[in-house]
């Protein structure tokens, strides 16, 4: 579990392993950031606090990828077994990138922008490299 410290990606992924989606909120102006930022780009303040989001959102745009990065190839994805990745606008405002599960990747034209989604958590990698990643599935 992360401590309330430096708002790093490591802490974000540590929270994610506990199935908590954490961002940061600027104490000075209330702006919310997911994933976390250590400095607010509006106020340039480092006066931040952790804030949890629910993981509900809508699909803003997506793609179905057949030629992925090595990590996805190792996870079993390829041109015959593609995966969907998308940008999801969270109910609380910020947009995040994530794998979209539970959609028909063989018919990308059926995947609808604007569809409601909820968070899912996928684990990839083995041993020490095992990590939990943020994903989404139809709500």
């Amino acid at each position: 579990m992360a401590d309330n410290g430096s708002f790093t990606a490591k802490e974000y992924y540590d929270y994610l392993a506990d199935h908590k989606i954490m961002g940061t909120r600027c104490v000075d102006n209330g702006n919310l950031f997911v994933p976390p930022r250590a400095m607010c780009p509006d106020s340039h303040s480092t006066n931040m606090e952790w804030a949890e989001v629910k993981g509900s959102g809508t699909l803003r745009a997506f793609t179905v990828i057949g030629v992925g990065p090595t990590a996805m190839v190792e996870a079993g994805y390829n041109i015959k077994n593609p995966y969907c990745a998308g940008i999801v606008e969270l109910e609380e405002g910020p947009s995040v990138a994530g794998q979209i599960l539970g959609v028909d990747v063989s018919k990308p034209e059926t995947i609808k922008i604007g569809m409601p989604l909820k968070a899912a958590f996928v684990e990839r990698g083995e041993g020490d490299a095992k990590r939990t990643y943020l994903a989404f599935e139809p709500a």
Binding site: F62, V64, G66, V67, G68, P69, A97, L134
Partner: protein, 420 residues
Amino acid sequence: MAMNKLNRGVAIVGAGMSKFGAFPGKATRDLFVESFAEMQGSVDKGVDVKDIEAVFIGNYSSDLFEGQGHTAPFMTHAVGLNPVPATRCEDACASSSAALRSGIMAIASGLYDMVLVGGIEKMSDLPTSEVTDTLATASDALYDVPAGYTFPGFYATIATAYMDKYGATPEAWMSVGIKNHDAGSLNPKAQFGQRIRELMDIKIKSAEKKGRPIPTWADEMEFMHDDRANLVIAWPMRLFDCSPVSDGAASLLLVAEDLAKNFTDNALHIIGSGQASDVTLRYRSDLTTLSSAKAAAQQAYEMAGVGPKDIKVAEVHDCFTVAEVVATEDLGFFSPGQGYEAAMEGVTSLRGPRPINSSGGLKSKGHPVGASGAGQVVEVWKQMRGEAGARQLEGDIDVGLTHNVGGTGESCFVHIFGRK
């Protein structure tokens, strides 16, 4: 507020490039020498290259592509210019536009009178998966890559957002690919200098030879829709929507404007230069435009005192076909949401009223990422001097533009060239 102008004028008096393609056994320095030799030969009244005072090299990632870091002094050595200052510039796929802008500023400041700007990349030694990984290091490695994102994936995401907003279909992107291969077939430096129809015929002949079922595509569009011939890399971006893995280099010779006549009576003057940065895609409120491109274009148009209608030759960053459509809107050639129809109707074709990417673009010419921006300038140089051969644009080509994007628009450069 600083004035948006150069303190001293800058002109390009020489330009050259290697062929773009896959060249096993050739390192970036070999390709750079080829481009430098062509640049030397292009200086109408000759040049003593010993007068070059500094070198700026655009290079994205020779470190990962060919295990060679610190490339600027090595390129400088390859063309015999040490001990002049040698600096590497990196802004992903816009690296050599970063080098160009650095060279412009170095002369405009009065520090130097003559500068060499280069661009280099050697991508074809790595297997495709490692090329994908290397290119992905130009995106957000902490949060976007772990989501499964790749560069084709980012641009495909722009494409689905664009299709949803404006009603475009994948045929729009396919028509850009067909168009750019048409132009590239007239460019002897292009990596894939074949029209799509020619590529189809090659595949049909190969099937006949191997005794395989003969494909029966009715036309280019049917070929583009064939999942086996035109693999879906990141839907809706297919193989023929993606620029290739390329090796290549380009060289530009820049001098202070008042010295240009010593080298040529037909120089390209830098009349506009713009540059901007942006956040990664997921932070943007509109996914169908690159705000860095709009900002860079606005700066360049203002400095040049020209507008989109004045541009006669435009090389834009078509790393993926959708990117060309977005670029033509960001640059003001078409209103938002109208660029795709223009492409489908042939408006942006070589002989259309608003030709885009007469070189064949990155799609057909090739995209050795760190060399691509300087390569765009080589095309503008040829077109504005009437030296583009079979693909020469008609009329007086007196104002040219290059639009070079880093990543998914996290950086962008726009340059405008004129005569004086």
